[in-house]
Amino acid sequence: MAKKNSSARNESEKKRQKKAYEKYVKNFTPRPKYFSNSIKAFIVGGSICMAASYIQDGLINRGLGKSEAGSVVTVILICTAQLLTGFGWFDSIAKFAGAGVIVPITGFANSMVAPAMEFKKEGPVLGSGAKLFTLAGPVLVCGITASVIIGIIALLK
């Protein structure tokens, strides 16, 4: 019993030391620039959404239905992000804009093309094929699970 107590005490002592060290390290760590990052993300993300809305309106004016126009805009955004990833520019844009390009569907497109390119050398099936969803997969699983749960809640209401 005494042994158990002392090991529990050791454990809490370790945790305390870890916390103290983390706090100490914080003094030396520069903080991310949250404010300027948010502004950049807002401007770039906002511009992407604005451009998308503009294209959608244009398509609707030319006689496309609202949902079809939405699908076409999504395809355009995905293709653009994929192309930019292929040219190797997307990561530079994302470094600047952060969540502004990662949160919209452009980020999703990038997260599929990037591993596909990276693992090309391992072959089309076991390389690109296997790694295609390494980044997007968790997003899909969690996203779909969340939407199912919210759907059930909406149904019950």
Partner: protein, 359 residues
């Protein structure tokens, strides 16, 4: 066998190991004394484009024009960089691969593939080393032991890392868009090799080495490796000074491997609390290798970082005579992708080796 005098060290521990007629080569708790002074005969360093643009760019033997180095894969490029650095080191040492008795080399990739591929063409006995980013000093220490124990005459100690191979193994695909936190470090595309052996007129020799303990701070953030390794580095430096009886200002340069800007500040601060003012002689290879505006955040990392900085710029200033006593303390963050995902802590380690002029 001729034993060199130990110079400034008040050596009261030079006693015979009972019944063997051999001197005891252990100093204090963790330090090895190389009585026969294995000598660094030559060095080779090969670095990537970004490292070439850094402040030390001109002091490396080869700066690549593109990080692929004419290979089909990043891994192939890393192997080629490593074998090229070994070739340069052998050339400078005036040795051919036939005269090399063993190669001790390591890198960051799974199963040490870069090292394995890079040494296969030499057909020399090979030992793979892994100590994360502390690999270079691990290889130098064990190489010096082989030479000092007269098991082998000439060995190569080498290490390498490549940004693009490390990135795909440990982090994200290269083209993936994300923002790195300010504490993140940049894996250096670099490799460095040392030929350790003997010559008639020893110049710069490995004199002491301190094998480090694992120090676990409990930190779990893989973007805070400098902070995770700094206590291990301090532990090893402190132990080295205690064991050898040397003062902290004995060395012209004390170089840690890849603590980066954050880890360096932590180490200086922690040493200050122990009453050691490291700052005049102390620096960090990860800090030295890049300019602050090269978008590397907290500085460089990877086993190639300390390997190439020592084999390139530091060796150059030793040859030019501006410094003569260097303590190289490569630091390693011993994490794996599995341990990081499971929320495990990052154990830190550091090994020190002193390379100094022997007159």
């Amino acid at each position: 066998m001729r034993y060199y005098s130990l110079g400034n060290y008040r050596d009261n521990r030079l006693v015979e190991v009972k019944g063997t007629g051999m001197p005891n080569n252990k100093l204090g708790k963790q330090t090895l004394a190389f009585r026969t002074r294995p000598e660094v005969l030559g060095t080779g360093s090969v670095v990537g484009v970004k490292e070439g643009q850094g402040p030390l760019g001109k002091s490396f033997d080869i700066v690549l024009e593109e990080d692929m180095f004419g290979e089909k894969t990043w891994e192939g490029a890393e192997s080629k960089m490593l074998s090229e650095s070994m070739r340069i080191a052998m050339k400078k040492a005036g040795k051919t691969a036939d005269q090399v008795d063993a190669i001790l080399s390591g890198d960051l990739l799974n199963q040490l593939m870069s090292s394995t591929y890079s040494v296969k063409e030499f057909s020399v006995p090979f030992l793979g080393m892994y100590g994360a980013c502390s690999t270079m000093t691990e290889a130098i220490i064990l190489g010096s032991v082989l030479v000092d124990g007269s098991y082998f005459d000439t060995v190569i100690a080498a290490a390498s890392s490549h940004y693009s191979t490390a990135e795909r193994q440990f982090r994200m695909p290269l083209e993936h868009g994300n923002q790195r936190p300010p504490s993140a470090q940049w894996t250096s595309t670099a490799s460095g090799s040392l030929v350790i052996g003997r010559s008639k007129n020893p110049h710069f020799c490995c004199t002491y080495a301190t094998i480090g303990k694992i120090v676990d701070t409990g930190m779990t953030d893989a973007n805070q490796m400098g902070a995770a390794m700094a206590p291990a580095a301090l532990d090893t430096v402190y132990r080295h000074l205690l064991d050898t009886g040397r003062e902290w200002n004995y060395y012209d340069r004390i170089l840690t491997g890849d603590l980066g800007h954050i880890g360096k500040q932590i180490l200086i601060d922690m040493a200050k609390n122990l009453g050691i003012d490291l700052s005049p002689a102390y620096d960090d290879c990860g800090v030295l290798i890049y300019e602050k505006d090269q978008d590397v955040h907290s500085g460089g990392s990877g086993c190639g970082c300390s390997a190439s900085v020592f084999a390139g710029p530091v060796w150059k200033s030793m040859m030019e005579g501006s410094i003569s006593k260097v303590l190289l303390v490569s630091t390693g963050a011993l994490l794996s992708t599995t341990s990081a995902q499971q929320g495990g802590s990052i154990p830190g380690i550091a090994h020190a080796v002193s390379v100094e002029a022997v007159y």
